[in-house]
Symmetry: C2
């Protein structure tokens, strides 16, 4: 069933079936199953085609390949294979005779142009992996992309054991890497070095003490007119609420009092967990950290509403609906006004 406050990238389209990750016999059988779906990644970019839904202009969808189309790739030592999970039954009460299909992600360093020929779709491509392209999926596909891309990004950066520098071996359907050096300390006990990394990041809409303005900032690289919520990595030994206070003060000089968690979003660039909060400012003077931001400003509620509903004709541009920044802004507008 759908749940409230679902953000883009957070739909769990597949059941991860983590208990199956250690069942090598089952995994191998599923690899060869003709119903199994394979997603192909090149350079962390998924193979996609133009969406076939009429109303989905500019939208894209994941190319679903079959075993026969990727079989040779699975044998290459440089290929990374991730077990993503099993499709959830649309109608769990119906007595289906067979299990729903399972999905894998395959990452390969073969020539991308060659790879595109494996798909029957005419419009196939590997988007340039800019953030914008990954925001064009349906909610269902976006959830799978978040999972697959985060795990693959980890493999692409963590192929050596950080504890001893030796090579590592991929295990458990792609969710573990074990050191090849039998003397390594990572072999004793359980250590995070063997498991994928997820980086918690706070992202917050800071509300002016008058309740009628919010603080937005822009980085130099943003398109002209675009302002977004402030954000920053949670540091070791730090609570979410304290990270919000620290990052806001570091980046804008504004002091924050109470902080309220709103919702979160997995952000697979490469593997962040965005923790979305409202933050009540207790000071108003802005002093921008110029290494992080080009500008930070208080925006009146009405200007923000105009930007959300009038779009391009507005002087302020806010991030697109797929971002948690957008959802935080909408949340503030909706809880505090009679729109």
């Amino acid at each position: 069933e759908p749940h409230l406050q679902e953000n883009y990238f957070s739909r769990e389209t597949l059941d991860r079936l983590s208990a199956r990750r250690t069942d090598e016999v089952w995994l191998e059988a599923k690899q060869k199953d003709p119903d199994t779906v394979y997603l192909l990644f090149s350079n962390l970019s998924p193979m996609v085609s133009a969406s076939q839904e009429d109303d989905d202009e500019g939208h894209i969808q994941l190319c679903r390949l079959r075993y026969e189309a990727v079989k040779d790739l699975l044998e290459k030592p440089s290929t990374v294979l991730i077990f993503l999970g099993m499709e959830r039954m649309k109608n769990p009460s119906s007595s289906q005779t067979s299990e729903p299909p399972v999905w894998f992600a395959v990452s390969t360093d073969e020539d991308p142009a060659e790879l595109l020929r494996r798909c029957r779709e005419a419009t196939c491509s590997f988007p340039k992996s800019g953030n914008r392209d990954l925001l064009k999926f349906s909610e269902e596909d976006a959830g799978v992309v978040a999972q697959a891309r985060s795990v693959l990004a980890w493999h692409s950066r963590y192929s050596f054991c950080p504890t001893c520098g030796s090579g590592t071996r991929l295990e458990q359907g792609g969710y573990k890497r074990s050191c090849l050096n039998s003397e390594c300390r990572s072999q004793q006990g359980v250590h995070n070095t063997c498991y994928p990394r997820v980086d918690p990041v706070v992202i917050m809409l800071v509300i002016h003490p008058d309740g009628n303005q919010c603080l937005l900032g822009r980085k130099k690289v943003f398109p002209a007119g675009l302002f977004s919520c402030l954000s920053g990595f949670v540091e070791p030994g730090e609570a979410i609420e304290e990270a919000v206070r620290r990052e806001v003060e570091e980046e804008s000089g504004v002091k924050v009092g109470p902080v309220q968690y709103v919702s979160c979003q997995p952000w697979p660039m490469p593997s962040n967990l965005m923790l979305g909060c409202l933050a009540a400012a207790v000071s108003t003077d802005i002093k921008v950290d110029e290494t992080e931001l080009e500008e930070a400003r208080w925006f009146p509620r009405q200007q923000v509403i105009d930007s959300l509903f009038r779009g391009a004709s507005s002087t302020l541009i806010v991030p697109p609906r797929q971002t948690i920044a957008h959802q935080l802004i909408r949340h503030w507008i909706s809880v505090n006004s009679n729109l």
Copy 2:
């Protein structure tokens, strides 16, 4: 000012002053400052002494060493030095002539018995680093321990570059490790391989559909009678609320509907961020994952209240007040009963 819902380990006793981490001249001057406080760690365990407060029975406090007592250690190549931050001014309006002291953590592999002689306290020790010992600090000391131990644990496990296997160099006051191989991909762009790891973990009190029972589980290693909240690592590409649903179903077979974030806790064993939630069960049958848990059971509200307020005389033992599991249980009792 104090903030609501502060959990143990989450007090930010020091101002991290992250902008100073790149100011090597300032950091070096502060190292030699006679007011600077040094915490000494051996094997991830901090040097402590018995608390001097009369009412603090069994409590411990961090040994605060001075530059003269650690100066020689700072010169050894195997020593790891972390800049922790500056004491916050108790009275910011008072016109103090000098800056408040800054704190560093020093980790060394010198003989622990020798190290203890550097402190003037008679009762010094390095606790065996069992979780229990780290729960005996004041709130202020606990906050510093969370920060220092998490960062030091990262250095002890991530001394090699995971991208190429080369050695790394500590930078930015201990908050960055850079690859020594100038050809390494980690030198292009910004990558999490260079920064400390923080692992988000969901921990949840699951509430029975009748509203009057909660689900608690025990691992084999728990002391007899102790039951706690279920918990598990957030996976790549997963939202908090989905991780709660997945972990509860994996570990207990119980299905969860709505999830509500309550508060969080940094847990420096070695560097987790515990995300505390209430979770509403939509099914009640229990099927325990025996690799993770020995038992999981629904406990009636009254039995939980007895355990919280009668303590040892109860048949159920809940975790101590310093844990977010305890605080989640208390939260449930308080929002849903007229205690």
